[in-house]
């Protein structure tokens, strides 16, 4: 037996074009490409099957990601959202996010998505600097991004944007201006990512050939701190490594990932996490990619907890010690190393622990390799 799934992820692996830095499962396809419709039909079947099997009864959040969901057009999206509404209770209490790119998010689409039960839009803005957008291989420009946000906000209160820092050529002023734009637009949620050079991407080729400078970690660190310094006083509290939200607008779907809730993923590369109290498995494209025992689950929960600003409580660490006897020593070591601090009965990541997370998470994972 396994615990009920709480979150549902649907992957749309199509884009207008692939961005330079992107290593996601996606491909460029015209929006009227019949392959898209076929793919959506498959997804629909999967959702219906899961519903019949009773797997969707406890779903609290839905996330349609990509790729570029907005790229596949309202026809395909309607099919998908209609199926969702008949397969699970898409009540206002269920957070239903869809990712959109500025160039394909149109006014009629915004209205229709809202009507079909989507209640959160996550817009891939990345930057408001046209030069940088071009460098990243994005389709849109800053004007389009601003228009898309405004358009989304005509219906949606819960609009999130992604911003990127540490892009080669990005000045501190330019990044600060991006943050200001986000605040001025009044979006509810901002994600701030440092640009990462992934393997087998155009960006990697460009960096390796010397055509583009490699992102500098020190610069990224400064910009991540700038984001905190600018967004926090503007009412956006950081609640996770890369996530800022106005009160009440934290992304519940992502929080499910970070709090050890089971999730279902449909579509290419989507991951399903199934667990009971003794075992946690992740399956992707029919392959088991993780098979964790109690101890490993416990270490993973602690590690994910330390990604969030709230950290983990003394009780959690104490309970973990039953399975991982060294956990208390490890957490004290984190405090000693300046990666965490202990406050009000909790271990919280420090700024260093936030920016040098791999060190912090590594020490926790090491308890149950």
């Amino acid at each position: 037996m396994y615990d009920p799934y709480k979150a549902l992820y649907l992957h749309i692996p199509f884009c207008k074009q692939r961005c330079a830095y992107c290593d996601f499962a996606t491909r460029a396809a015209d929006c009227d490409d019949p392959a898209i419709a076929d793919y959506v039909d498959e997804l629909v079947l999967e959702i219906r099957r899961a519903s019949r099997e009773g797997k969707l009864g406890s779903i609290e959040t839905v996330y349609i990601g990509g790729g570029t969901p907005s790229h596949i057009g309202m026809g395909n999206l309607s099919k998908l959202l209609y199926t969702l509404s008949t397969s699970l209770h898409l009540t206002p209490e269920v957070e239903c996010t869809m990712e959109a790119n500025p160039e394909s998010l149109t006014e009629p689409m915004v209205k229709d998505l809202w009507a079909l039960g989507v209640n959160r839009l996550s817009i891939g803005v990345q930057s408001f600097d046209d030069d940088l957008l071009r460098k990243l291989g994005r389709v849109h420009d800053a004007e389009t991004a601003k228009r898309a946000i405004a358009c989304a906000q005509t219906r949606f209160e819960n609009v999130s944007i992604d911003l990127m820092c540490g892009i080669p050529g990005q000045s501190h002023e330019s990044f600060a201006a991006d943050l200001a734009c986000a605040i001025e637009a009044g979006v509810a949620h901002v994600s701030v990512y440092p640009l990462t050079v992934e393997e087998n991407t155009l960006l990697e080729t460009l960096v390796e050939s010397g055509a583009l400078e490699a992102p500098v970690e020190d610069v990224q660190a400064i910009m991540m701190e700038t984001a905190l310094r600018v967004l926090d006083p503007a009412g956006y509290a950081r609640y996770e490594v890369a996530s800022y939200a106005k009160p009440g607008f934290e992304c519940r779907h992502n929080i499910a990932y970070w709090t050890g809730k089971p999730y279902l993923g449909f579509g290419t590369s989507a991951v399903t996490m199934t667990q009971n109290e003794a075992r946690r498995m992740r399956v992707q494209d029919g392959q088991v990619i993780d098979d964790l025992d109690r101890r490993q689950m416990c270490a993973e929960d602690l590690m994910l907890g330390m990604r969030m600003v709230q950290g983990v409580s003394d009780e959690q660490v104490g309970a973990a010690a039953l399975l991982l006897p060294e956990s208390l020593t490890v957490f004290r070591g984190l405090v000693e190393a300046g990666l965490a601090e202990r406050r009000e009965g909790r271990y919280l990541p420090t700024v260093m622990g936030w920016l040098c997370g791999n060190e912090l998470y590594g020490r926790i994972f090491d308890m149950a390799p």
Partner: protein
């Protein structure tokens, strides 16, 4: 190729008539195709069928085959039915092809009457060609020049003949033109061996005198020696006496390698073969020693024996502390076969428990380290190699220093002497300047220079061994576009102004990083090394100052800045597994590092001293 047929009476002959024995070596510069040529000889004489032919049969160790070098001597007996109709016993002795093993080469040559000098038809005469030819001449061997690889389009046999005549004073008009690859010329070579190389001479009725030119440990039979019988004979059941070590033993078996070990009733005058002693310690059966009868033996040993002494020393430390015992056992096992390998326990504050190990040279060191890692599955960290310094204390007491950590206080030292080498470098004339610059920078003293031909200059130098092991050969190669070849021999100890340079990480001296250097170069080495370490040591959670100092005086300082950011920002559904994998990889990377006072130091740091640019 079918084996040469033996006539009935030839099979029954018990004692081999020395008239039909030819003992010879094949000598060459590295990569000139010696081993391939040996293989062709085995094939052509039917000793090994071409079907069973593993490339380079004589190089038996994997590492030897991979690196294309010979480390241990090998002796193979082949029967050759010559064009004159007679059946000859050929003993082909393959010698180590590297300067680290010069002594072994000289002993192998002493077991022969002749040598085939192989010269690459495209490369011509190189330093080890000269060195090996000199050694063969000193051993009074008949030399048959052979120009190899004539099948290559770039082959220039005429030019190479000229070089052999000009540079080595060996008549090369009748040099054998051959190709180990195609087998061309190999028959000519075998006939030249019959006609040009003299048969061995010796007294069959005199007491036994046999030269040991290699020995190794066989787990089932004890120490096995490769020997050349000079006088008398030996057979199973004989009691024998090793003259230098004073050890007696019982002959358990004698025979020849064809190339599989084949027992024979006896080994008599002129023959080369193996001898099973049942002894347990390979150091009792030393290369160069003379074997005689335990009772009624000779009193005069064969000339040329000397103790082999290690020249290069390094600390070997297990990366995981629990591998200390396995490392010790592995060293014990390798020592069984390698009396030149010496070691003693060493403790480092930085690296824990390990061993200080002495080697014949850099290649020997690399080979041993690789075997320890590969054959015994050990993860090892090697400190920078050092040489044996002679430190004279005030009052005259001399200490042999194998490790910088043992250096006494400067105040107690009267003088320090270090080992010097006579180095011979062969280069095209264009590179004389480049070699001058490099070698002078390495404290070399120029001795003389000769033009061996219009295209080859021989330069002689005196250079400290400690400089040579500092990446000198790689530098020499790159500064001469690969043309230079190098050969050297030990030239005794000379006084030097040497100091111990300490490296400090986060203010603490790291014993395993300290090294001994000439005073005039201490500042430059310290500066370059701190710069290099700054690149090698990854950024940590805190700032790491790196200092180079003599005594308390800091010569150079660099800082590894603290890590500012190291986090995978995205962590959604599938990213969690990805992150786990990334952290595992990161952990595996850390495993290759040594944690010294909280600083993660990668292994290369300990070798960085070697790679100092001049």
């Amino acid at each position: 190729m079918r084996p040469s047929g033996l006539l009935m009476h030839e099979r029954q002959v018990m004692t081999q008539d020395p008239k039909y024995i030819r003992n010879f070596s094949i000598i060459a510069h590295i990569d000139h195709g010696k081993s391939t040529l040996s293989d062709r000889i085995l094939e052509l004489t039917g000793t090994v069928s071409s079907r069973d032919m593993k490339e380079q049969v004589l190089d038996s160790m994997d590492i030897e085959r991979e690196r294309g070098i010979t480390i241990k001597s090998q002796a193979v007996r082949v029967d050759y039915r010559a064009d004159d109709g007679e059946l000859y016993q050929f003993n082909l002795i393959d010698t180590p092809g590297h300067v680290d093993f010069t002594y072994e080469v000289s002993r192998s040559l002493a077991a022969c009457e002749g040598a085939v000098l192989v010269v690459d038809a495209t490369q011509g005469v190189e330093a080890q060609t000269v060195a090996n030819a000199m050694m063969a001449m000193n051993a009074d061997l008949e030399i048959i020049p052979l120009i190899n690889k004539i099948d290559l389009p770039a082959a220039e046999p005429e030019r190479v003949k000229q070089e052999i005549e000009d540079g080595l004073a060996i008549p090369a008009d009748d040099a054998v033109l051959a190709s180990g690859k195609t087998g061309a010329g190999v028959h000519d070579l075998l006939e030249a061996v019959v006609y040009d190389i003299p048969a061995p001479e010796g007294d069959p009725s005199a007491p036994l005198r046999a030269l040991i030119f290699d020995s190794y440990f066989d787990a089932y039979r004890g120490v096995v020696a490769l020997v050349r019988v000079v006088d008398g004979s030996m057979k199973k059941g004989d009691r024998i006496h090793m003259m230098a070590t004073g050890i007696d033993a019982l002959v358990e078996e004698v025979g020849a390698r064809r190339p599989a070990e084949t027992p024979m009733p006896e080994l008599s005058v002129g023959e080369v073969g193996y001898l099973v002693t049942g002894l347990k310690d390979v150091s009792h059966v030393k290369v160069g020693d003379t074997i005689t009868n335990a009772a009624g033996g000779v009193s005069e040993p064969l000339p040329g024996y000397r103790e082999v002494k290690p020249m290069v020393f390094t600390g070997l430390f297990p990366i995981e502390g629990d591998q200390y015992e396995p490392l010790k056992e592995a060293l014990e096992k390798l020592s069984l076969n390698d009396p030149a390998l010496i070691w003693e326990p060493e403790k480092s504050h930085a690296l824990g428990f390990g061993f200080r190990v002495g080697f014949l040279g850099l290649l020997h060191m690399e080979v041993i380290k690789e075997r320890l890692e590969r054959e015994f599955g050990l993860d090892l960290l090697a400190t920078a190699p050092s040489v044996e310094y002679h430190v004279y204390r005030q009052g005259g007491e001399m200490i042999s220093l194998h490790s910088p950590q043992e250096m006494p206080d400067p105040g107690e030292i009267e003088r320090i002497e270090e080992p010097y080498l006579k180095a011979k470098i062969l280069i095209p004339p264009d590179y004389v300047g480049a070699v001058m610059d490099l070698t002078v920078a390495r404290r070399g003293t120029f001795v003389t220079m000769n033009y061996l031909s219009t295209t080859t200059v021989e330069m002689l130098w005196e250079i400290p061994l400690s400089e040579l092991i500092m990446d000198y050969f790689d530098k020499l190669k790159s500064n001469t576009k690969g043309y230079a070849s190098l050969d050297y021999e030990f030239d005794g100890y000379k006084p030097s102004k040497l100091v111990k340079l300490d490296i400090l990480l986060s203010g603490k001296p790291i014993d395993a990083l300290s090294f001994i250097v000439h005073r005039d170069k201490a500042y430059d080495r310290g500066r370059i090394l701190t710069e290099r370490l700054k690149e090698i040591i990854p950024r940590q959670m805190f700032e790491v100052p790196i200092q180079a100092a003599i005594g308390g005086r800091v010569l150079a300082r660099e800082t590894v800045k603290a890590k500012r950011k190291d986090v995978l920002a995205k962590c959604y559904g599938g990213d969690i597994s990805r992150k786990r994998k990334l952290l595992e990889k990161q952990k595996a990377g850390k495993k290759r590092m040594k944690n010294i006072g909280n600083v993660e130091v990668p292994q290369e740091a300990f070798m960085a001293i070697l790679k100092v640019d001049d």
